[in-house]
């Protein structure tokens, strides 16, 4: 459990945050300049807050007269650039912070870096270097792992190639503080979401709740809002899979391993409403729902719907609210587009 309550002033920028991160992946999310990296650097001991307190698992790292140097904090840090030591080969980089006699085999296997072990960092691609940096931080056996936009320096294809490794990382049991300004990454990886803006915490809570909150949709901006649904693969054949989620059984395109836990992202713009059950659609995911909350966005509205046991957001035009007589408590049908625009990802139990 990480507890952070700090204040730091640099020029005009005031960072004043109070947040907690327990097990799983806590995403520190916000636009660039929100102060995310400042928080991470204060936690790791690379920057000093003006005041406040930082504690990890009950041990005070900063405050109450303590300012523990970074090397004693037991916090692994993966920087935006890999920061590998150029004068050491990959193996020596991985073992730099590892306890004596540790076996790097399992971590190297997980990150697919075994073939790189005898190479020098100078010859690695961006994606390879990022994986080595993650392995190096993990082998240090940290009490907390900070990932500070580890994908930001990579292009879209390499980013997509690394995400599955980060998902496997979730299964390692180390609490992770994941810093990102990309909602897609956060939606895929995080268990808890902390929204940071202008140096302040705007919202914090379980990711499924926050992403299904219409008010969050306003904070996230258009096109970003959308719920996440976790589920289990209960059926799989060539090119499509059936996923059991709290909203019901959903069909998605793509390959999946039977029994795997996956996470589906359902963008608000990919959820269509209908006042009677639509038939003859190309989209197979048609489910009954009930309107919970309607939030006016000006140009339209964000509707939170109860679908089965889950909450899903739908972004509708202004006219739709009157045409469909949308009001809290109204029973309605939803068409969820999960394949295509929606990302879905494997959970810790499954290899990508």
């Amino acid at each position: 459990m990480l507890e952070v309550a700090i204040r730091r002033v640099v020029g005009d920028f005031v960072l004043d945050v109070d947040l907690r991160a327990s097990s799983g992946v806590t995403a520190l999310f916000g636009p660039s300049g929100a102060g995310k990296t400042s928080v991470a650097r204060c936690v790791a001991g690379l920057a000093r807050p003006d005041a406040g307190r930082i504690a990890l698992d009950g041990q005070v790292l900063f405050g109450e007269g303590v300012d523990m140097p970074p090397h004693r904090r037991g916090i692994g840090y993966v920087f935006q650039e890999a920061r590998l030591f150029p004068h050491l080969d990959v193996r020596a980089n991985l073992l730099y912070g590892a306890p004596r006699g540790v076996d790097l085999g399992a971590v190297a296997d997980m990150l697919d870096i075994v073939p790189l072990l005898d190479r020098r960092p100078g010859g690695l691609s961006g994606g390879e270097a990022a994986r080595v940096a993650i392995g190096r931080a993990l082998l240090r056996a940290p009490k907390l792992l900070i990932l500070d936009e580890p994908l930001a320096a990579l292009d879209a294809r390499r980013r997509a190639a690394i995400l599955p490794y980060l998902e496997r990382l979730r299964g390692q049991g180390v609490p992770i503080l994941y810093i990102s300004h990309a909602i897609e990454e956060v939606a895929r990886l995080a268990t808890t979401l902390v929204l940071l803006r202008d140096g302040k915490v705007q919202a914090a809570g379980p990711i499924a709740d926050l992403l299904a909150d219409p008010d969050m949709a306003v904070l996230l901006g258009p096109g970003q809002a959308g719920a996440v649904l976790e589920g289990q693969v209960i059926g799989s054949d060539a090119g499509s899979a059936r996923i059991q989620t709290a909203a019901g059984t959903l069909a998605v395109t793509g390959q999946a391993e039977m029994g795997a836990t996956v996470r589906l992202r359902v963008r608000a713009s990919d959820v269509t409403l209908a006042d009677r059950k639509p038939e003859g659609l190309s989209e197979p995911n048609v489910l009954p729902a009930r309107v919970e909350v309607i939030t006016d966005l000006g140009s339209g509205a964000m509707v939170r719907l109860r679908v089965g046991e889950a909450s899903v957001l739908s972004q509708v035009g202004r006219d739709a609210v009157t045409a469909l007589a949308l009001a809290p408590g109204r029973d309605i049908w939803v068409v969820l587009r999960v394949a295509g625009a929606a990302r879905w990802a494997s959970g810790e139990s499954q290899a990508p």
Binding site: P69, H71, G74, Y77, L84, L88, G122, A137
Partner: protein, 230 residues
């Protein structure tokens, strides 16, 4: 093989010993001063910087005279060392000290530039991997700065080998004790006709100076490539 009189060989051997000892014995201090100048933030840094560079800008004879004042039997340091039998004035160790002082600014400058070029982000990364500041320095900063340290050592050696003014002022030119190669060349020059050893010693001086520069040029890119990890 050049035919050299025995006193010329003696001067060459002494010069090699003096300059190797001068550079190696002053290297730890040079690295420390270079690090402090590169990374330290304290009052008086400018003064330290000026002090280190002083031998570079002072006339060597002034530096030699200052050493003489400090280390002679009557001087504040020599007065302590001489009765203990550790005196260095007019000894080969004094020649080594004079050479070290004269070479010091070159060595420090080269190492300082190399340390300044080490990316502090790598040192940060090492700290988050649990390395103490001392371990960070030994395992990251110093290896990364190695080409500069090496270049400093080679240039320092060449400078120490050729040092004349401060040496002859501080420890005179005693054959077999303080008559280094440049002093010997000077002594040969005082003899009409130059004596047998003059041409040979001049040739050796040129070969060693050029050799040092060539070695430094050959070594630097190799070490740099190794450090860059390719």
């Amino acid at each position: 093989m050049i035919a050299l009189p025995p006193e010329a060989w003696e001067a060459l051997a002494l010069s090699l010993r003096v300059s190797v000892v001068a550079v190696l014995a002053s290297l730890p201090l040079a690295i420390w001063v270079a690090h402090v100048l590169a990374r330290g933030a304290f009052r008086g840094k400018g003064v330290l910087d000026a002090l280190v560079h002083l031998p570079l800008v002072l006339p060597p004879v002034v530096t030699g005279y200052a050493l003489l004042l400090l280390f002679s039997r009557a001087g504040p340091i020599g007065g302590v060392l001489e009765p203990l039998g550790l005196g260095i004035a007019f000894r080969w160790t004094g020649a080594a000290l004079a050479a070290a002082v004269m070479a010091f600014p070159l060595v420090v400058r080269s190492i300082r530039l190399a340390i300044e070029a080490v990316d502090p982000k790598l040192e940060e990364a090492a700290a988050t991997l649990g390395a103490s500041p001392w371990r960070v320095w030994i395992t990251v900063t110093l290896p990364m700065a190695a080409p500069g340290v090496l270049a400093g050592v080679v240039m320092g050696f060449a400078k120490a080998f050729g040092e004349f003014g401060a040496t002859i002022t501080f420890v005179a030119s005693i054959p077999g004790e303080t008559r280094t190669l440049p002093s010997a060349i000077y002594a040969f020059l005082q003899v009409p006709g130059g004596g047998d050893g003059l041409r040979g010693l001049v040739l050796i001086a040129v070969v060693i100076a050029v050799g040092a520069v060539l070695v430094a040029d050959w070594l630097a890119p190799r070490v740099a490539a190794r450090i860059a990890g390719r």
